[in-house]
Amino acid sequence: MAGKTVSLFIQCLVDTMFPQVGEAMVAVFDRLGVPLAYPAGQTCCGQPAWNSGYRREAAAAARHFIEVFEGAEVIVCPSGSCVHMVRHHYPELFEDDPAMAAKARAVAANTFEFTQYLVDVLGVTDTESRFSGSVTYHDSCHLSRGLGIAMQPRTLLGNVRGLKLIEMRDSDTCCGFGGTFSVNYPEISTAMVDEKIENILATGADGVVGCDISCLMNIEGRLTRRGEKVKVLHIAEILAGLRGGDQ
Amino acid sequence: MMENEYFFLRNIHKALGLAPDNDRSKEQYPELFAAPDTRKILHRVRNRTAEERNELVELLRTNAQALGIHLHPAESEADAAAIVVEIIRSREPEFSHTKHVILHDHPDVAALQLWKRFTREAVTVHTTFSSDHELREKTIASFIGITAPAIGVAESATVIQLTRPGQPRSTSLVPSIHIALLRRDKLVADLEEAYTLLREEGRLDSMVFISGPSKTADIEAQMVHGAHGPREVHLIILPSSAGPPMAATGD
């Protein structure tokens, strides 16, 4: 298999608040011998602006992103919603600018979510990871509905030694994050995440795993506020074997 | 053209990016109202074997049951009449104290000869002749309405009741119980076949598709039969008519 150098697209929230998720992704790729690059000029993909309707600002962010990542052989990101932004909304942002639109489409076609890249592109279904304990999996909206990625993370989790995957009820129901929605409509957002948490707790799992740190931040923020002991993990952390349920 | 209509359509033209006063017509867009090719469907409907018809009745039975429709296969008109008489005898009126029954002016209903079956009981039988000016009162007074729908649809346990002289709309609606008589050869598989037959009808008057008794789930999502329409529906399947198989309403 010819190995392309993966350019890491580190979601801004991962970069600033959850760097261990980025490190975990590096660890997994290193274990697989995948060459890595980190384009240092990257900032934010523009999703917050897009979601709030600020398309000019989103386009500026997109333009910057495209400049930074244009030369990449392949782009991989540990966040479904950011990949969804790049893949689906970047081309829309430049509908009136054919040259930029072409670049946007090229970058879009070359951008993958972490588990998607492992399973669908590299054909890796077993990362030889270990974890002891049970987890339940949260399907984030843009990942599952937007990108159609639901089996890939489950396949990877299924091959983690010592890990027991317990499906929760309504795993693909929105956790209530929704970007600025969570700040502007906190009562609704909290009611939604509470339902998610009830479903997580009902599984009795030690942890909840997902592929989007924004959802996980929402779930974790509520779990700790409620004093629940369930651990929240990004899938990269499990696949890297950095943290175990028995810590 | 009336002023309102003119401005209304002009706004649509504008919205569609057309010249405001353009007079495009449907003739320019033949595909818009193109009639589907229904020959295959008609052929299928008109050439069903007895076995296929039995299968349709079985499908109807399953679907009728799920909807709470009482399905009664009848071997003959006499058999059907006995079923109807039993229903009339065993049920009590909902809104009055006397038993009135109202029948569509239709040969299959007339064949029940209901008027002569209640000599010693107080059951009044009315027929919906179009000349009858007291029809509304009689319909409201009746606790059972009996009709012979034009088409039955097995897939959805539906009967299609066309409005026509002597066959008013309220007979299958206002009384508490609706009894529909359906000949086996009027039963089709699905809505596509039913719509095909309706198209063959030519110009349609008002009609209604009826699939089961009136129901509501508005109070705490609990299903209750009999919100406004009939709370009980009986479907009696009669043998095929002697005539040529299946013209939609070929009586």
């Binding site: 298999m1 600033t16 697989l32 309707g53 600020y54 506020r225 | 649509i12 033209h13 009826i210 406004h228």
Partner: protein
């Protein structure tokens, strides 16, 4: 961004969230109908039907002038009267004139969102005409002086005890909580109204141009009653509620009843397009079809939103939306609630006025998946937010939140200038210090993050960002091998 005083949408949403009764009902509804519809679509033998119907809807809109003219022609050929109402007021005036001309004393209504959209009841009542809702749910709402909270199940927010007390109070029956008994009490009371009304006033689920008939679906039979027993029938129809042919009608109808209540067909589908013919012993003597624009042509004109006209008003999106599932229908403050309401209400009634509807969703996409015609409601919500972000002449919309707009302009500066961006993150690390609790998280923030920390903890900016870690730990000493060793190859 958002000011601290809660908006109406938020207030009503909170009221919904706090109502145990509503939460229970919504959960039951979504578990049954939302999941049911998704299963139904997945199991449908004809997997192209939804796309086909959508395509035919859009094709109809491209020829809407022709299709509506054909509908009007065919209704008139049946002896029906057709009125084209450009505005809501126009529709109200016309209906009122019909009622007055016919000396109508009592109007019975079939459930119609369009009638609420044009707000016809007060106009009729002002003329001394009694207006009676006949759908059981709507009747309960009317008796209670309440507002419907679901397209298909209007009184889902009330429980049997509340309805029992209401009936005791308004209908004078002995108190009961038994739904069948309550239903029978309403049946009796409404039968009287339905049999003695002078005019039936309905909506229109789907008109068919080719036949010149409208069709109305109901499970209760009230709409059949309202279109059969009164002397005069007036049907109010949004101009997009039309198909060209019976073939299109069949498939659209099948999606409607499946999406609405998982039914192959609703109990009744009534077709009518004119007064009773002179040989018909019953049926209305006059039939009026009022075709209403009221802002729809503006939607038609905008390619970004035209798609929303394809909606067949089944309400399936309400049954899956996680936001509607928490807040219920009242928060939308519109006859159209849920995801479809969040898109169509601002478009019909003002984007600024209904800014909260545009912004109050997570764009999770569930509504798009469940929609029988696959309307991309999240895309349209995003487009509405775009109008709010900068204002729009076409939509008479002004910039919704100048402060937010300024914030995003600053944000733009940061994300396009990595050095500034990195500097600010460093600054954030310092600014956050006083807010970090002993658990290592932020439990209370001021400003824009206050909404977050009201119910959730916020993680602080990490001591080292990934950006820094990469430089320090990972950048050097990279494997440069051009091939990937997969586990199998080891």
């Amino acid at each position: 961004m958002k000011t601290s005083s809660p908006s109406t949408y938020r207030e009503a949403a909170v009221a919904g969230i706090d109502s145990a009764q509503l939460q229970k009902s919504l959960q039951g509804l979504q578990n049954r109908f939302g999941k049911g519809a998704m299963e139904l679509w997945a199991g449908m033998a004809d997997q192209e039907m939804r796309d086909r119907v959508k395509e035919s809807r859009m094709k109809t809109f491209e020829h809407l002038d022709i299709v509506l003219a054909e509908l009007a022609k065919n209704v008139r050929a049946r002896g029906g009267q057709v009125h084209f109402a450009v505005t809501a007021q126009d529709a109200v005036n016309y209906t009122l004139a019909v009622a007055k001309k016919n000396e109508v004393k009592r109007v019975v209504k079939g459930k119609s969102m369009t009638s609420m959209e044009v707000d016809i009841d007060p106009a009729l009542e002002q003329e001394g005409i009694e207006v009676v809702e006949t759908d059981l749910g709507e009747y309960i709402i009317q008796l209670a002086g309440d507002r419907p909270s679901h397209i298909i199940a209007p009184c889902i927010h009330l429980n049997r005890n509340q309805i029992g007390r209401l009936f005791t109070d308004k209908l004078g029956i002995d108190f009961t909580e038994d739904p069948p008994t309550l239903t029978m009490a309403a049946r009796k009371a409404l039968r009287e109204k339905l049999l003695t009304a002078d005019m039936g006033l309905t909506g229109c689920n789907l008109a068919c141009a080719e036949t010149g008939m409208i069709s109305l679906v109901s499970n209760e039979g009230n709409i059949r009653m309202a279109t059969t027993m009164p002397r005069v029938v007036v049907a109010l129809m949004g101009m997009e509620r039309v198909v060209a042919t019976m073939a299109e009608h069949r498939e659209t109808l099948q999606l409607l009843t499946r999406g609405a209540a998982l039914q192959k067909l609703s109990t009744y589908v009534s077709f009518l397009g004119g007064p009773a013919s002179k040989d018909d012993p019953d049926g209305p003597r006059e039939f009026h079809l009022v075709i209403i624009d009221n802002g729809r042509s503006r939607i038609l004109a905008d390619p970004e939103f035209r798609e929303v006209l394809a909606c067949i008003r089944c309400g399936a999106c309400l049954n899956i939306c996680p936001v509607y599932g928490k807040i219920g229908g009242h928060a939308y403050n519109s006859p159209y609630c849920g995801p479809i309401g969040a898109v169509v209400t601002p478009l019909l009634d003002g984007i600024n006025k209904h800014a909260d509807l545009c912004k109050g969703e997570t764009l999770c996409g569930a509504c798009k998946d469940i929609c029988p015609v696959k309307n991309d409601l999240p895309r349209m919500l995003s487009a509405l937010r775009h109008k709010l972000a900068y204002g729009s002449d076409r939509w008479n919309t002004r910039q919704h939140n100048p402060a937010e707009a300024r914030a995003f302009r600053v944000w733009r500066l940061l994300v396009t200038r990595p050095f500034l961006y990195r500097t600010l993150i460093g600054l954030g690390r310092i600014v956050q210090r006083p807010f970090i609790g002993k658990e290592g998280t932020i439990r209370k923030m001021a400003g824009i993050a206050a909404g977050w920390t009201a119910g959730r903890d916020l993680p602080p900016v990490a001591r080292r960002t990934f950006h820094q870690l990469w430089k320090e730990k990972y950048a050097g000493n990279r494997p440069t091998a051009p091939t990937i060793e997969t586990p199998e190859e080891k």
